[in-house]
Amino acid sequence: MATIYIDNAPYEVKDGQNLLQACLSLGFNVPYFCWHPALQSVGACRQCAVKQYRDEKDTAGKIVMACMTPATDGTRITIDDAESRAFRAQVIEWLMTNHPHDCPVCDEGGECHLQDMTIMSGHTYREYRFTKRTYNNQNLGPFINHEMNRCIQCYRCVRFYRDYANGGDLAPFASHNHVFFGRHEDGVLESEFSGNLVEVCPTGVFTDKSFKQHFTRPWDLQSAPSVCVHCGLGCNVTPSERYGALRRIRNRYNGEVNGYFLCDRGRYGYEFVNGAGRVRQPLARCKDTGELAPVPKDEALALARAPQGAAIGIGSPRASLESNFALRQLVGADRFFMGVPKRGHQLLSSMISLLRGGPARVPSLREVGEADAVFVLGEDLTNTAPLMALQVYQAQYRAVLPEAEKAGIPAWNDAPVRELLQDKRGFLALATPAETKMDVFAATKCHAAPDEIARLGFAVAHALNAAAPAPEGLAADVAALAAGIAEALRAAKRPLIISGPSCGSEAIVLAAANVASALCAAGLDAALSFVVPECNSIGLALMDAGSLDDAMQAAEGGVDTLIILENDLYRRADRASVDRLLGAAKNVVVLDHTLHATAQKAAVVLPAATFAEGDGSLVNNEGRAQRFIQVMPPQEAIQESWRWCGELLGKPWKNLDVLLAQLGAVLPGFAELAKLAPPADARFGGQRLPRQPHRYSGRTAMQAHLSVHEPQIPNDPDSAFTFSMEGFRGAVPAAVVPSYYAPGWNSVQGLNKFQEEVGGPMRGGDPGVRLIAAAQGARAEFRGAPPAAQATRGAERLIVSLPHVFGSEELSALSGPVAERAPQPYLAVNEADAAAMALSQGDVVELSVGNAQAVLPVEVRASLAPGLVGVPAGIAGIPAVQLPGWGTITKRTEG
């Protein structure tokens, strides 16, 4: 700790900080632009000027930039003397000379850091009367709107996009007073993290293009704390609503999980909530037409009710714990199934037991960013868990930071640190079926078939510890590769092994755990992290139910009622098997928010709430349970699936807390869920928590075309929130912070006021409770047996699925901007295989795999491992069969 003096009063601050960090953490208001807690200092904007004094006797002092001055013991400063104030006002006046007076038409207006800082700096009157510099804007794709005239040249955008997120296609151009930030030509920003520019930019240069399609003034938005549903990492988000439509997603800070950033799938995947495919009324099959038609709720419930013990329930890894539990209660534990096919089911339980078994740590996403060597087996992270890829990039950067410290440069002094480090990075080894975006940043990469990836993993574990099983007949080059990876991992202090189910291979997952165990046995603080496909994959797996295949078996020979919870089975298994399952049931009931292929086959469809319209809990890949809170009152008959189940059961739960109490009693592993957020009857200063900001407008006018009486505030029985602008606005637990307003801080930067220290945990602790703990200190055990070398099967090829950040996930693919970025169906082969099969780019082939067929155009990809055929995961037009699997490819003859 160091003691610094601000206006002669002593303050304790953490060592190794700069003055800006220290002052903001202490709660002082110091204006800034270029500094960002995740991007550190460059001293570009000159806005954070304060006056520093040599000692007590020094009365003159000198102006320094707070962000560039270390907060060492005995530092004496003043923030508010006349000279510093005048300096700051002058700097902002000069930054504003070219800034247009377009706040009234700017999407950023009302939550603009530049507006806040202009007011904070006291630049009240604009005296510049001359022509302003103007630019042409670019079309940057479906996510980001570009308005360069507003730029104040703080360089945050390129520092985030290039330095932090390893993006290549955003750069500063030109010089002097006409610097331009954009692409070298119009086009889609390629980084899957581009949406963060919206929040990183202190003003309205980069704004949310999807929000613009249905823009609402930011102070007119109703928001609640939520969790992203588009992958398994559980990033925290703040969705916002107005007039019954979800308008946008913003980042919600969780120091242990996503920190300051989101991926573009998470930010732009929300439009499915407003989608044309939504179910808003109960539907039942009309006897006359055979079509699904709206029916009254009571009628639908009567049609959906099954005699005791006569129903089979299929749960879903994209539905909340509460909804899955409610279905389990409805049908009985032994008749409740996970809705995940056998292979995925097996992989999930295997991953959970490996995580629990230890001895390796299970890292949070923040801790992923602190590893000093990383080995990834079988996961294309930028496409399956983008934020984890972003954290791996940070790990690579932090791993070499000690070199800067050795050179006497503090870690926060970003420009000289990066200048010194150049492209030095921490160790990263990748083993995947095809090239990934991360390959260029990896020291070692290998593209191979799943079994070969597993063999490499086993070989690395064996090289680290002779007790680990070794693969037989390993090629010399693979053995050398394994030895190299083992050596680099052993040289680290906090090595991290990442794997997951994308290759559909249990051997890969076991190999990853063996490597982690071997590293622990060598005395290293090793960590093991698994990526999972869906937002509640782990939560559902913790409920310990049978697989979809088991459900199919149970339904064999007929079943009275089949209740399917938020699950499109046609995406999980081949058409014939699903048809057979649905055909075996006399009555098929689907609870979901979207009318997908499975729902279209149902006899009754009950309209379920999305994350935005309901409350529930999800468990992420590290086993962290997190609560999402209803953002908007559901329209028409929409309600949470757990409410529907309660009504079908005839014993509806009064509210979420009652359900959680029962869940904790029935499945004690979930007893902690009640702690995720304050209960519904919690009051703060005697009040509920407002979802709407205190500047929310039009509450008496919004419904005036229907009634001049102000409508009653909808009831929220499940959380401490209210759909109102009235309520408690003081300090509340992080799990129930709906937005980051603090006096003078209207932009996302207001977050500073909600953290224990800037960039640190949320005040009172980051949200979420870990349900999985690794048995640390457990003896290193080696499990599994290495598979044999990848065999060939004559004319058959091994078909693998290649994930795509945009398009592979079901719900985000229903969102317009994301769909625009999704690939068209293709069949990828590498050059040698294409030549061997006499295929060339664009040829049309018939793929036959399992008992499904597809007609696809050929894409020749140099980077795909030899012998493999790749198809995009989860894209319409690709059969939903279990991959990898053996299949045949036939070229379509001309005509």
């Binding site: 290549g168 955003l170 500063p172 151009f173 030109a174």
Partner: protein, 154 residues
């Protein structure tokens, strides 16, 4: 496409740096010497050659005012517009040039012979006013001398 000669020269420069991207400025200079200016395709070609993104190369190209990113005439006149030259008679000289060539700053003559661009300081204030035509520096100018100088550049 870059000619083999250009590629060869860029490779020579790239070999002298620890990272290939270090040769970016030299590569742009070589392209401009051979072609008069740097077109969009060359930016992409240089990027591919030096293992950079086109954005990175263009970021460098647009930073330097001596790298030209738009087509120019056979000869480029860089007239010094800084304060010393202005004090010493820039304006009548510029007026004469504009009248004789029929173009303003930033423009190229219809016959493609000259491009006239402003340049902040040529570092020769003691001999102001001055301009450069291609690689030649001309100093202590006055409007009467201009026509004779221009006549040397066909």
């Amino acid at each position: 496409m870059l000619s083999d000669k250009i590629k060869h020269e860029i490779e020579h420069e790239a070999a002298m740096f620890e990272r290939r991207s270090g040769a970016c400025i030299d590569a742009l200079r070589i392209v401009q010497r051979e072609r008069g200016w740097v077109d969009d395709q060359s930016v992409k070609d240089v990027a591919a050659l030096l293992e950079m993104t086109p954005d990175e190369v263009d970021s460098v190209a647009t930073f330097y005012n001596l790298i030209l990113r738009r087509p120019v005439g056979r000869h480029v006149i860089r007239i010094c517009t800084s304060v010393s030259c202005w004090l010493m008679g820039l304006e009548p000289m510029l007026a004469h040039l504009e009248k004789t060539l029929g173009i303003g700053l930033g423009q190229t003559t219809a016959d493609g012979r000259f491009t006239l661009i402003p340049n902040q300081c040529l570092g020769t204030c003691d001999h102001a006013p001055a301009f450069m035509i291609d690689d030649d520096l001309h100093r202590d100018l006055d409007p009467e001398k201009l026509d004779a100088i221009l006549a040397n550049y066909k």
